[in-house]
């Protein structure tokens, strides 16, 4: 058994296995990724790892989330100048055409960038533009150790998900006017919902970050809060240079 303190809800937990995605906190259902977001944010903002409930009230710290889990987003909105945003619900935020507002201290974006329509470099550039100098992104996305990032739909431009009797497709008209179809699209959160646009590789991600002017720190384990990563798909802290 692994004993840990959940830094999201404060519960003392004891779990057989700990996984990036599978809930392991008996009380709030947090997984490794959720607890790491809180841990990494605390380390970056306060220089020490505070449980979320102990975050100080600091309305001078300006940040926003991109579809953060509610268990994290709601407490953050109470203690910081923070708003959780969504791609398809209010308050809306599209990283490919962000508002002009800038000078954020931090952005949290977890399991979002694999769903952002290409070109993905533009999304990284926009993250950097939105931040203050030295501002940070608490960033996660699934990634592979080897190879290059695989773009499923490199020429995505004017597109829709189509449901035929035989299953889902993606139909796209490229910028040059060609029609393309793609079979067996991958969705996260259920059929027809959130389309997987790419499978990142570590080197692809690092190249995107470097081109956007970010220094990258890979997540480390923090067993006291039940944060134990595999080698792949670890969280990353992106710091604007």
């Amino acid at each position: 058994m692994i004993d840990f303190l959940c830094n999201v809800c404060g519960a003392r937990c004891s779990a057989k296995t700990i996984d990036r995605e599978i809930p392991s906190c008996r009380k709030c259902g947090s997984n490794v990724r959720f607890r790491w977001i809180v841990h990494a944010l605390s380390m970056e903002l306060f220089g020490k790892s505070l449980p979320l409930k102990k975050f100080p009230k600091r309305k001078d710290i300006r940040g926003f989330g991109m579809s953060d889990p509610g268990e994290i987003g709601y407490p953050l909105s109470k203690c910081l100048d923070y708003t959780n945003t969504f791609y398809d619900a209010e308050p809306r935020f599209d990283i490919q055409s962000p508002p002009v507002s800038t000078a954020y201290d931090f952005i949290t974006t977890s399991e979002v960038f694999e769903h952002v329509p290409p070109p993905i470099q533009k999304a990284f550039n926009n993250l950097a533009r939105l931040l203050k100098p030295d501002g940070i992104v608490i960033f996660t996305t699934p990634w592979e150790m080897e190879g290059d990032t695989i773009e499923h739909y490199p020429n995505l431009y004017d597109w829709q998900i189509v449901k035929l009797q035989s299953g889902y497709l993606v139909v796209n008209r490229t910028a040059s006017g060609q029609l393309e179809t793609f079979e067996k699209p991958e969705f996260h959160r259920g059929p027809g919902s959130v389309l997987e646009m790419r499978i990142f590789s570590k080197s692809g991600l690092l190249a995107n970050c470097e081109a956007a002017g970010f220094a990258v720190t890979m997540a480390e384990d923090y067993p006291a809060y039940g944060i134990v990563w595999e080698k792949w798909s670890r969280g990353m802290i992106l710091r604007k240079q």
């Binding site: 004017d158 597109w159 829709q160 189509v162 449901k163 035929l164 009797q165 035989s166 497709l169 139909v171 008209r173 006017g177 029609l179 393309e180 179809t181 079979e183």
Partner: protein
């Protein structure tokens, strides 16, 4: 000016031009096609051209409409044992798959429908014939041309959707053998995205469909000025009869 009596609403009209589709009755907005439907139906059922309001009450006559234009269904329902159906509104009828109780009709009206029916179109003609009594008639219209064969725009249509992209509508189809196809430049009737045009009929194509289904095709006379019925050479109405 052309003076005519509208056989649908009974108004005396006077217009400069008469067109198959453009409304020409100043009172009810009927066009040449609508008035021809009434005339052709009257000739088939009664052997003479009655105004719609003079149609006798004959509940022994069984009829079927396929998205018939207003105000025909209201009157036909009163006179006959008639039901108007829609492809996507109740009571529904898919002519490729009509329910077995739909049969023994004395007449069927199918105007501007068959150009939108999914292939194979021969099945639709066969079903018309099956649903008629011997001696029954279809009052039939589609857009058609004289030369060549019927052109099927989507011959492999099987498992498909019309998709609206920012740049316009496209059709995505998986054929029966699993191939994906996309089609651009779609033509719709009734407004963008509404009713997809799936073929351009030719007269010889319709004739072949009718012959294979056991129907005899008669093309509408060119004009009947009394009732403001004026056709071009193409796309005239047709009466399709099932032999006795």
């Amino acid at each position: 000016m052309i003076d005519f009596l509208c056989n649908i609403c009974g108004s005396n009209c006077s217009v400069e031009t008469i067109d198959r589709e453009v409304p020409s009755c100043q009172s009810c907005g009927s066009n040449a096609r609508f008035r021809w439907i009434v005339e052709a139906l009257s000739m088939e059922l009664f052997g003479r051209s009655l105004l719609l309001k003079d149609f006798p009450k004959r509940k022994d006559i069984r009829g079927l409409g396929m998205s018939d234009p207003d105000p025909l269904p209201d009157t036909l329902e009163v006179c006959f044992d008639y039901i108007n159906t829609g492809y996507d509104i109740e009571p529904k009828l898919d002519i490729l798959n009509p329910p077995p109780q739909f049969g023994a009709f004395d007449f069927i009206v199918s105007s501007e429908v068959f150009e939108h029916v999914q292939p194979p179109i021969q099945t639709a003609f066969n079903n018309l014939a099956r649903m008629l009594k011997p001696g029954g008639s279809v009052i039939f219209s589609v857009p058609w041309g004289w030369p060549g064969d019927t052109v099927e725009f989507f011959p492999g249509l099987y498992d498909y959707e019309v998709v609206k992209l920012r740049s316009g509508y496209v059709l995505v189809n998986r054929t029966r053998d699993g191939q994906l196809e996309t089609f651009d430049g779609l033509v719709f009737h009734g407004g963008a995205g509404a009713t997809l045009l799936v073929r351009d009929f030719s007269v010889s194509g319709i004739a072949a469909n009718c012959e294979a289904a056991g129907l005899t095709m008669t093309i509408a006379e060119e004009t009947d000025l009394r009732y403001g019925i004026v056709w071009e050479k193409w796309s005239r109405g047709m009466v399709l009869r099932k032999s006795r």
